[in-house]
Each structure stands twice: as C-alpha cells, then as structure tokens.
C-alpha cells in the first residue's frame, strides 16, 4: 500500500505554480548556503596549505615571496634535511685544479655542476663502478706494501 504523502493530491494550476515557485526559492536559498559553506572551507584549507607549499618551493631553490615566510611547522624533522641543492661529496668530480689547503672545499663545491643543480642525497649505497679484484700472485718483483682497511682504534 502506497503512502499518500509520496503521491500528493491533484492541485489547481494556480496553486501548483505558487508551490513550484516556493520550492524554487527554497532550493535557491539552500544552494546559496551550500556555496557559502564551501567557500569558507576552501579558504581555510588554502590558508593552511599555502605556507607549507611556499616553504617546499623555497627549499627546492625556487624564489619565494618575502611576505610568505613559512611558519616553524613547515620545517618538520625528516622533511627539511632532504631539501638539498648541493653536490654530493661522494660523487665523481672533475673540478678545476685549485692548489692549497682550501682546495678541498673549492673542489667539492665545483664538483659535478649537473649534480649540484639537482637535489640529491649526501650519501648513497651505490656500488663501486669497478668491483674489487683479487691481488695478483706475488712475482719476482717486490710488491708495494698495501694500505690497510681495518677498524681503527681511535677517532670518534
């Protein structure tokens, strides 16, 4: 058996028009309310995420507007230290010769310009280009004393 409320009774044309207009008005009002709530929600979301986006862009070397200084929350552990734009010290280098004690820093800074442009890890677990080989058997000529890899007793 059907509910009479699901199937309203037949109405006069004038009354139906009035009811239709009333329904249209109510729908318009609700749509306006929904739009307002959505706009407020989007604005809130943008306000929270924009500083973090700006911080990320600045960390990657992109110029950021001075007015959008990221808040401390944007520099959370595990995120900040990965944003690097420096060459890895362990990469192969073909830097210009710079004699003198300062050559270490200069050569490292000049090493591999392509790598310097891209964010990269300071350390990797990449294998060597050439696998170590067994030393050849002793010949009649005396072999030079090898340098030794052994856990050291000092340092720290």
């Amino acid at each position: 058996m059907r509910d009479t409320a699901e199937f309203p009774a037949q109405q006069q044309p004038g009354a139906a028009r009035t009811a239709g207009l009333r329904r249209l008005s109510r729908l318009t009002w609700r749509a306006t309310q929904l739009s307002a709530v959505t706009a407020v929600g989007l604005a809130t979301l943008f306000a929270r995420s924009a500083p973090a986006q700006t911080a990320a862009a600045a960390g990657d070397g992109t110029a950021a507007p001075a007015a959008t200084t990221p808040p401390p929350a944007a520099s959370s552990p595990g995120q900040v230290h990965r944003k690097r734009a420096r060459a890895t010290a362990s990469g192969s280098a073909q830097a210009t010769a710079r004699p003198g004690p300062q050559a270490a820093a200069q050569a490292t800074a000049k090493a591999s310009p392509a790598a310097a442009a891209a964010p990269s890890k300071s350390a990797t677990l990449a294998p060597p280009a050439t696998t170590p080989a067994a030393a050849p058997p002793p010949s009649s000529a005396p072999a030079p004393t090898p340098t030794v890899s052994s856990a050291s007793h000092g340092g720290g």
């Binding site: 004699p99 300062q102 350390a123 060597p128 280009a129 696998t131 067994a134 090898p146 720290g156």
Partner: protein, 319 residues
Amino acid sequence: MPTAAATLGSRTFPALGTFATLLVTDPDALSLAHDVLSGELAAVDAACSRFRRDSELWRVSHAGGRPVAVSELFADALATALDAAELTDGDVDPTCGQSLVRLGYDRDFARARRRTGPLRQPPMPAGGWRRVELDRSRLTARVPAGILLDLGATAKALAADRAAVAIEAATGGGVLVNLGGDLRVAGDPPPGGWRVGIADDTGFDASTARVQPRQIVMISDGGLATSSTLGRAWRRGTAELHHIVDPATGRPARTCWRTVSVAAASCAGANIAATAAILRAERAIRWLEDLRLPARLVRQDGTAVSTADWPEGGEDQPR
C-alpha cells in the same frame, strides 16, 4: 697514468685520533696533497668532533633545542649522517652520542679505554634521528635538548671522500686517502689498481698503523671501509663493550660478525653499509646482495662470507 706502482708517493701521520695514510700516483704532488688533506682533516675535526667543546657538533647538541647556524661542512656531515639513518632504517643513527657516553666512551678513545671501573648508569637508547632538523638552504640545524650527536659512523668516511676528490682536483693525479681504515680513491689509479689489505684487526699496532692483512684486493674507484666490534672495544667492570651501538637499546650490538668490509661508490656509503651490516647480523648478507655491494663479512669464529662478487683468494695471509 703512472707506469709503476713503485713510484707512488706515500705519507702516514696521526689524525682524528687514528692514522691517515695518503698515497698519490705522482710523488711530486705529495706535498700539495698532504696540505689539502691536512686542511680537510682540521676542518672536519673542528666541525664534527664529539670531544671538542669548541666544535660545531658540541654547539648544536648543547643549544637547548634552539636552531643554530652551521657551516656548509657541518651541514654536509649532518646531512650524510641523517641519510645514513634513512638508508638503513635507523640502524646507523647519529643520535647515539648519549648512548656512548653512558657506555664510558665520553672522551678520546685512547683515554676512555683506560677507565675500567663498572658503569654507573643504565644504557640509554638513541635520541631519535627523525627529531633532528637540518635546513640546508638556511644552514641551520636543531637538535632537541638532551640529544647528543655522534657522527663517528660517517664523518671520517666523509672526510676521506672530500679529501680524495679535492686532492685529485688540486693535483690532477690519482690519490688514495685512508683514514683509520676508511679509504677513498680518486683519479687514475696505478696500473692494476690500488693495493688494499683487508684485516680482521687482531694484532693492530695503532702507533704504526701496521696490521697483518687477511687478504689483499685491488680497487680502482670509489671507497672501501671496514667496521668491526674488535677495533674500538673496551671493558667496564665485567662488561665487554664496543662502539657499534644498537640504537634501540643503547647497548653494544650483539652480532654474528666481528668485521665487515664493504666497497661502494663512496667511502661514506661503504662505511654506512659496513656498520649497518654489523647491526643486521645474518640479515646483512641478503641486504648487501640486494644492493649489489661487494663485501667481506667475518664471523666471530673467523670464517668469512662474501657478497656481490667480492674477490676470493687474493693474497690470503696465513695466521
């Protein structure tokens, strides 16, 4: 390329509480190479020493959790240490400084090992590397209060990497830098490669950096490092201790390996892998194979296992 290995220039001297050996293919470049290496070692020591109160590491670790401006070198060293932690899922953790202090390793090892009385404090786990903040663009670092950094697993290897690359750039020749067993080569090697002895540490003479190698291998590029539970080991009361700390417990790692030697593209990478392998025990074999890292792992009983085409044979020295 040099024509004979006998023409190598060589110098060994004390550095970073251990020894440094410098080999160059052009003997005439030895003096310049030594200057570059000495400058790099002094800079790394001033930045990364856990025992110097004027070091950047000390300043950052005792800033009460405030961000501190740091040098490019220290930022590089800390970034390498944090990468090591990330690459090893936290096995190689740079926040083990207080753990080592609790174990009695609170000063230069030569002095620390002289104290033999029982420990007074319980072990302390690592402070947590994810809590350390480094901003490479602003050159600032922040270490939470109570955490003491220890860059021992990476700083010396990083110094070898930096020095070798810089010496090659300065001299144009081939170079090998060996810092207490962490070594890096750069430039054209001697014919056949650089001769490197692989040792298990017993019989090591710290005064002369001499040790009887088990095996001799030839390397042409990259780095090679050895980690061991034997090298820096000491006794407090009845406890036998060593410097490779399990970050989860703050105690010396319990492991099936006494020595692990690894070859990698860099010395830092080799040392990170070798240290992590000690901590990972049997799991290390599969891990190193998956990474294609040639390695030689020596069990506590002296038997050796190798991975990723580490050479067999060589010139094994009978003991």
